[in-house]
């Protein structure tokens, strides 16, 4: 059984059906796209096909000044925000589920700490629930790439982005971040209201609020890059969905989704400390509950390092995979 996934695509019953049996993404991706033959000439920065049938073996590179490139990707982010806002109704199921999870864990933490049990490393029922507000808000808002990117790869729709003046990875990263923004704000609002009603407010340092903006942005970026890596494995395997299931569970345990990593046994904390998952969920959530400048600085450094690693891996996977694509028009 798998947990529900973030609502990047219209609601249905995510998780339970293999990606290959899903479709109808209103974002326009998926099997409904037609496979256009690659243009032979004219696309800026694009080589013509070397041995037709097949695709150009080199992908276009963004050209122009850094500011122009930034404007281009900012426009993609803005488009994604508008796209998600247009279908915000599709995302309303997540907050309901979010509130349900908070209710269950509120009861769990209240039960655990009901008999006067001392806080564990500074976490009592209130802190534990507010910690969950942040981790769940990030997880439920992270764009769902499963069933989207891997479907593009499997159906060949990946080719439709080859003649665009932007990098495939950059495009999807920008689009996913744009989609995540309104959903995260919605989830956070629901989480804050629900937690306040269920267990009361949490005093938060102003510096923590300021630190959360970059922390969550970097966490989302890393999450998208890891998702892209997994989805791009569809170039080599029939179905990338199982990798997503395991990744999701890694986030549960080693990312500290439901309980802070401080609750884990020492050896498991050490393992988690060397992996990227904690910087996606536990790191930002700890800033909310137990802020310190040193923790924030360390988190930003780890996030930046992991983003660099996964950016390189993602681009390398994409370039290795795209060489295998054969398109015959249609």
């Amino acid at each position: 059984m798998t947990r529900p996934e973030p609502p990047t695509s219209p609601p249905g019953r995510p998780d339970l059906a293999p990606a290959s049996q899903k479709g109808g993404d209103r974002g326009g991706q998926g099997e409904e796209r037609s496979l256009a033959p690659p243009p032979e000439t004219g696309a800026e920065g694009m080589n013509g096909p070397r041995s037709f049938p097949g695709l150009p073996r080199r992908v276009p590179r963004p050209t122009g000044s850094l500011a122009a490139v930034a404007r281009k990707y900012a426009a993609i982010v803005a488009t994604a925000v508008r796209h998600r806002m247009a279908y915000i109704g599709d995302s309303l199921g997540r907050p309901v589920f979010f509130a349900l999870i908070l209710f269950v864990f509120c009861r769990l933490w209240q039960t655990v700490f009901a008999d006067g049990r001392a806080p564990v490393v500074g976490f009592a029922a209130r802190e534990s629930l507010w910690y969950l507000v942040m981790t769940e808000a990030i997880l439920l808002s992270a764009p769902r790439l499963q069933g989207r990117i891997d479907e593009e790869v499997k159906t060949g729709a990946v080719a439709t982005l080859l003649n665009k003046p932007c990098h495939y990875v950059g495009y999807h990263l920008a689009f996913a971040l744009g989609e995540a923004l309104p959903v995260f704000l919605l989830n956070l609002a629901v989480g804050v209201v629900t937690a306040r009603v269920l267990i009361g407010p949490l005093p938060v340092a102003p510096a923590a609020v300021l630190a959360l903006f970059p922390a969550v942005t970097l966490a989302m970026t890393l999450s998208v890059l890891i998702g892209l890596c997994l989805a791009l494995l569809a170039f080599w395997v029939e179905d990338a969905a199982p990798f997503f299931w395991v990744y999701q569970k890694m986030l549960f345990i080693l990312g500290g989704l439901m309980i802070p990593l401080d609750f884990l046994p020492g050896w498991l904390q050490a393992v988690a400390g060397w992996l990227p998952f904690r910087t996606i969920l536990c790191g930002p959530a700890r800033l909310l509950v137990r802020f310190s400048v040193a923790d924030a600085g360390s988190l930003f450094l780890w996030q930046a390092a992991w983003i660099a690693v996964f950016a390189v891996v993602t681009v390398a996977l994409y370039h290795a995979g795209i060489r295998q694509v054969e398109s015959h028009g249609g």
Partner: protein, 280 residues
């Protein structure tokens, strides 16, 4: 085009003519074909089964960590959680493996994909539900059975109880999903609400019942049958007894009957999209 659902001779009341339930041979053949189709893609099949088992095992790591820190939650310990999860996973796996379309009914109704089942001779209820198999469900089922055998390696009475309650649990899950998905017959686009109800049932069933008190307890034994899917089966396996078992079987019959009733009522409102498609 209202009323297309009732193709064929109408009964005197104006509803669709009653058609025979598909025979056991037909249903077994459907399952066999579903399985063969799934196994045609060897990596996909194996990965879905194995990774789902791994996925479930990792989820149990959360509870292991939790109970390392807090050994008891109102009488529930690690073994109780493992038993709960084993039952729910096995029931869930059984349901989505045998009735793979139960969670897709809403979108099928909206997209007019029910038509193809209405034109076939057998009664569409089971035919539709069993025309797809979720391969990952096999992993859920195997995990559930494995976890149960880990807990009770040599206890035939409990094995028998486990078998009965898993079947009941799977049938109630399926029936509840069918009812929630059938909202599409009446409301149109209801994937959102149907999805929330399905998730609520599965999510709540993975936590101890002692967390829920008062009005919530009534809610989870009635509107959303978590109690019958998870907690009553746990109590039956812990200490098999005729009374609770009879209650579970009665609840199963009631939920299945309700699902059939709602589906039939929905079919009377179904409007065909005149979709022409070939079944793969």
């Amino acid at each position: 085009m209202p009323g297309v659902a009732g193709t064929g001779a109408a009964d005197p009341a104006g509803g669709p003519a009653r058609r025979p339930l598909p025979g056991l041979g037909f249903l077994l053949a459907l399952q066999r074909l579903n399985l063969m189709a799934g196994m045609a893609y060897r990596w996909s099949f194996l990965s879905q089964v194995v990774f789902m088992m791994l996925n479930n095992a990792i989820f149990m790591v959360f509870w292991w960590v939790f109970f390392q820190r807090f050994p008891q939650v109102q009488g529930w310990g690690m073994d109780d959680m493992l038993l709960l999860f084993a039952l729910v996973a096995a029931g869930f796996g059984l349901s989505v493996t045998l009735f793979g379309n139960a969670l897709r009914l809403s979108s099928m109704i909206q997209e007019g994909k029910v038509d193809v089942f209405l034109s076939a001779p057998p009664d569409p209820f089971l035919h539709l539900l069993m025309s797809r198999m979720s391969l990952s469900g096999i992993g859920d089922f195997l995990f559930g059975v494995g976890a149960f055998l880990w807990l009770y390696p040599a206890d035939p009475v409990r094995w028998l109880a486990f078998g009965v309650v898993v079947v009941c649990s799977g049938l109630i899950l399926t029936a509840f999903w069918v009812i929630s998905q059938c909202l599409a017959f009446f409301l149109g686009g209801s994937e959102g609400i149907s999805g929330i109800l399905a998730e609520a049932l599965v999510t709540l069933s993975m936590y101890p019942d002692s967390l829920f008190t008062g009005g919530v307890k009534y809610f989870v034994y009635s509107v959303v049958p978590v109690g019958f899917v998870a907690w009553l089966p746990v109590s039956i396996v812990r200490g098999p007894g005729a009374g609770p078992l009879a209650l579970l079987v009665a609840a199963t019959v009631l939920w299945v009957w309700l699902a059939r009733l709602v589906f039939a009522a929905g079919l009377r409102r179904y409007e065909s999209g005149n979709l022409i498609q070939a079944r793969g």
